[in-house]
Symmetry: C2
């Protein structure tokens, strides 16, 4: 029989519809590999640096110049930003409505100079450099007092919203905290105040004990399909020990995370024939600053537990979900985890 399950962090109920029980081969999704296209005209390819805005950050070979060849990872402003970097955040009311000016940063992290090598096929070192770039950009942007949150995400494949096939992630710095992260922050705080334990730590402990939804584990990280997965083959990667922010993770652990991401994405690719997916980093919000106070004066949300959420884009049936917020997931997370765990890579 179908089950209704509640995600303990977001308090979101989901219908796990096992009757419809969809297996990996039941999703007729396009393999992203077929979308690769040409690299000659690609603005993200090495040698085409003049086609992009000036770089903000790059991992470069010694002696190479900015905005020229010789980089491994390169961060540039998005040419068509959703938010604009210059200006003040004017908060205004208008009757019942609230608004603020669309101030923020919108950047692109080019993950490789090569056009056709995606995360699961990169060297661990290369993924580590991508994570290094995430960290540097978060640490830099969170100093900007206008911003509340730095959201790092990746759209892989056209169906996931990628307009260019060259491997890249994006980040958006916003003057507000995105809704789902905020719900998690609120719940983490409430749970901690009540129990003096982290809700994510409790979930991880239970998941490792039951081991029905674990996809992959190593000393510092665990990947699992969440109990109340909204989407088939949804995966979360979490640090096993409590840590509120990705950006404060010690550098020496980054390589282990790189390995975990690679392992998980390799499994996902093999199991579902290179599906499109979205990848979102959920980390603690920027420390709140106050005029005249040092940067780290405000509330740091120590009770949060950062993680990465991966959502394969397999179903377009999200019909009334958009209007109601009630999701129907045709693949039980236990099934998904089993497929992902047992596939040979």
């Amino acid at each position: 029989m179908a089950e209704l399950r509640k995600d303990p962090v977001s308090d979101r109920w989901v219908i796990i519809s096992t009757e419809r029980g969809k297996r990996p081969t039941d999703f007729g999704s396009v393999s992203v590999a077929d979308e690769a296209g040409e690299s000659k005209s690609c603005p993200f390819c090495e040698g085409n640096e003049a086609k992009t805005p000036y770089e903000i950050l790059a991992w470069r070979k010694p002696g190479t110049l900015s905005n020229s060849a010789g980089w491994e990872v390169r961060v540039i402003p998005n040419k068509f930003p959703a938010l604009q970097i210059e200006g003040e955040v004017n908060r205004q009311g208008s009757g019942v409505f609230d608004m603020m000016s669309g101030i923020g940063a919108h950047e692109v992290i080019i993950e490789s100079p090569r056009h056709n090598v995606n995360l699961p096929d990169m060297e661990d070192e290369q993924i580590d450099r991508v994570l290094w770039a995430y960290k540097q950009r978060i640490l830099d942007l969170e100093k900007d007092k206008r911003f509340r949150y730095i959201l790092v995400f990746k759209n892989y494949g056209k169906a996931a919203g990628a307009s260019l096939s060259h491997p890249h992630s994006q980040l958006i710095a916003t003057p507000i905290t995105p809704r789902y992260v905020k719900m998690e922050l609120t719940k983490s705080r409430e749970y901690f105040l009540e129990k003096e334990r982290c809700i994510f730590c409790d979930i991880i402990r239970q998941e490792l004990g039951e081991f029905t939804r674990v996809v992959y584990e190593q000393e510092f990280f665990v990947a699992l399909t969440p109990y109340a997965s909204r989407f088939p083959f949804e995966i979360w990667i979490l640090p096993r020990r409590h840590e509120f922010g990705f950006q404060i993770m010690p550098d020496e652990r980054r390589m282990l995370l790189a390995r975990c991401i690679k392992e998980v994405l390799k499994r996902l690719k093999k199991t579902l024939n290179d599906p499109p997916y979205n990848f979102v980093l959920h980390t603690a919000p920027n420390p709140v600053t106050r005029p005249g106070k040092p940067h780290y004066w405000g509330t740091i949300q120590y009770d949060y537990h950062w993680h990465i959420e991966i959502i394969p884009r397999l179903t377009s049936i999200a019909g009334f979900e958009w209007g109601s917020g009630l999701y129907i997931n045709p693949t039980a997370p236990e099934e998904a985890a089993k497929y992902l765990r047992e596939i040979e890579i």
Copy 2:
């Protein structure tokens, strides 16, 4: 410049990205008319009643028999239900997780015996019969103490999740209240407790005053593009006077609603070349019952204000939105309303 706007009911921030300013012709969406397909094998067509489960309700010509020809609107159980009608709602905990059995109703409202006539092209009387069926089914199902909410919705076009092209809506009765409705209920209650006014009534008053986001108005109903629209050409239809539930609306007003729905969908169809859309009825939840108490004992949420939300499915760019809950809308609602208001139909 782009703007961040907050929806006062859901407290959801949205980025209205006017730089990207998309006009109706910029959306390369498929016209649903091209999907119609064959009617011969369609289980929803008149004459094919034997191909469906037994009917629950029908608007029939006098003297015709159940499950035979002679109906105008017909309600049947969904052949592939997301939730199952028989059984008890077992609520259980398992460590940090909560679940309940997947009990509920999942029904299909066939809106017409004809295969190719959709809502905007129906007679007013036919739309009125569809709304009559919604009402009858809600009133019947809300007596079932296992259910908290009856969600009526419509997926129009494949991109919106419709698997059959014959005009139909659906309803799902659930043992929980869907998330977005719940958020609205909570906010309506808080707002009312603070101000002794309905938040939706305040919005309607302001919208009719400003008249920049109004699509259509008549004596009892108004259609508008919400201030913090998540999606391009999102439209809400609301009763102008306070009313907590669709199901308690006096019958004589239903024809006016039918006319309003027709008018709005006609405008949407013409402006965007017959786009796919989702349509969700947000009404007050079922009255809470307690053992030994009469049915209407519990809390009826008088401070809610029912409405219909229409979401055209124009963009598949909802990439990181799924992971963050932060929406980027490339069409300002004022622009959308202007197009919808000024189109000749």
